[in-house]
């Protein structure tokens, strides 16, 4: 017998309908926030950023790949959660990136280009990408100010004396944090339209929205305690034995 409260179908339906009203209100509020994001002003990008890609050196403009909107995921590499020499990609960012390939054709078909960037040699990114079996474009911003300028990496000086992360001052930020930035291109000019960090990145993580409808929920003692790279879960079960 379960210890959870059980009910007749009619009782459940009444409770479910009440919750549905709250869910609908929340969804409409989400629509409103999306409209508000679209109303944010755009900031023209004056600086020239160059990335190393599979096709050679590429500017930020070229990253749009012919589409009008660009989403860049700031992927932590060589630093992050459960990172070592053999596993250089952050476990959390790898979890996020597991969501990309599925949405890629749909986003590309709807005028959005999605790429990830990291401050590491392209060769290392490609090697890790092969292991993970990913197809989304992943570019190297090594040697560029890009990740620093968009608030997802911090210089040694900033790590000592403080910087902004997620639009708040942080006394001693780590070398890198997760985030994503959106851009629009019009008449050849690139504009920064939006950035989000920290739990804002959960919007890329469908897994959490699935768990949020499940009876056990996210079921985590500390956020991230259960995250593994998708090829590491079996190893974890063996560890536990």
């Amino acid at each position: 017998m379960t210890e959870h409260r059980t009910a007749s179908r009619d009782e459940w339906l009444a409770a479910r309908r009440e919750l549905l009203d709250a869910e609908k209100e929340h969804m409409r509020r989400g629509d409103e926030l999306a409209r508000r994001r679209q109303e944010l002003p755009w900031v023209p990008i004056e600086k020239e950023y160059v990335f190393e890609t599979d096709e050679g050196e590429t500017t930020l403009t070229e990253l749009f790949d012919g589409r009008s909107q660009l989403l860049v995921y700031h992927f932590m590499f060589g630093f992050g959660y459960r990172v070592d020499e053999e596993n250089p990609g952050c476990t959390g960012c790898s979890f996020v990136a597991d969501h990309f390939d599925a949405v890629l054709p749909h986003l590309n078909g709807h005028h959005v280009t999605l790429v990830a960037e990291s401050i590491a040699p392209l060769q290392e990114l490609s090697r890790y990408k092969d292991r993970m079996g990913w197809r989304f474009p992943w570019v190297s911003s090594l040697g560029s100010d890009f990740k620093y300028d968009f608030g997802a990496a911090f210089t040694e000086e900033q790590q000592r004396s403080g910087a902004e992360y997620n639009f708040r001052h942080v006394d001693q930020p780590p070398p890198q944090r997760e985030g994503m930035s959106a851009f629009a291109i019009e008449d050849g000019v690139v504009h920064h339209t939006y950035s989000t960090y920290d739990r804002g990145v959960e919007q890329l993580m469908g897994t959490y929205s699935y768990l949020d409808v499940a009876p056990l929920g996210r079921n985590e003692e500390a956020p991230a305690d259960w995250w593994r790279r998708h090829d590491e879960y079996d190893a974890r079960e063996e560890d536990a034995e």
């Binding site: 900031v43 994503m180 504009h191 879960y233």
Partner: protein, 244 residues
């Protein structure tokens, strides 16, 4: 020159800060709603359902595959369809790659449709998915959980085509079936838990409630053009092998 409002970094920053506060509130409200879902009572499923699966006939309890939670997506693929619904397909693209993470949280995810198993298997091969997909062709399951309706009844009761959203006739055509046949199947998610051998239903959702399975929407909601679809919502969605 763009006609969109342009600002300095500082001006943008102050508007972004204000929006961030509201976004945080929205995230916390999401957490609260997830908590409320977990507090819903559970309804014991008394009826025996049998599904046609790759490895033979399976009961609802067997579909849990050793885990305690089961998320079923009612995929619109009726007996008269020639191919699966494109919008449902776009959702399954998302679920398929996440199975290792969901399994690690004690959650089995699978698809149920009313078309015969062979049709589902052929379409799954075309889409390159690995997620389990079972047929309820010989079961009341989809009818009992509000995901299938009698076609003749639907034909009598359905509103005229021009009162349905454009996506209905768009997807009827894409699945090679008539409008009544198409909308006699319904998309939705049903969630169950298995406790001491008994199955309980914990949650169900349909309509916009399935947007949690549409990973491209929260991304588009953060892009400069937003969802950019208006009344003709979802008609831009193609099967992943059909985009030009």
């Amino acid at each position: 020159m763009t006609e969109h409002r342009i600002a300095t970094r500082r001006e943008w920053q102050s508007e972004r800060d204000a929006l961030l506060a509201e976004e945080k509130e929205h995230t916390r409200r999401s957490d609260e709603l997830a908590q409320k879902r977990r507090e819903l009572p559970w309804v014991r499923v008394e009826k025996e359902y049998r599904f046609d699966a790759d490895n033979g006939t399976r009961t609802l309890a067997e579909l849990f595959d050793g885990r305690s939670q089961l998320l079923i997506y009612h995929f619109m693929f009726g007996p008269g369809y020639e191919a699966g619904c494109p919008t449902c397909s776009s959702m399954v693209d998302g679920i398929d790659g996440l199975l290792p993470h969901l399994h690690a949280r004690d959650l089995t995810a699978l698809l149920v449709s009313r078309a015969p198993l062979e049709k589902l298997q052929a379409y799954k091969r075309r889409m390159g998915w690995s997620i389990p997909w079972v047929s309820s062709a010989n079961s009341d399951f989809n009818f009992d959980f509000g995901a299938s309706f009698d076609v003749e009844q639907m034909r009598k009761q359905m509103p005229p085509e021009d009162q349905l959203p454009p996506i209905a006739s768009h997807n009827a055509k894409a699945t090679g079936t008539g409008l009544a046949e198409y909308i006699s199947e319904m998309f939705g998610a049903s969630v169950f838990t298995l406790q001491d051998g008994s199955v309980y239903q914990t949650y169900a959702t349909t309509g916009r409630g399935v947007e949690f399975l549409m990973g491209y929407y929260p991304i588009l909601d953060r892009m400069p053009k937003g969802r950019d679809e208006g009344e003709a919502f979802q008609t831009w969605i193609r099967r992943h092998d059909e985009y030009a």
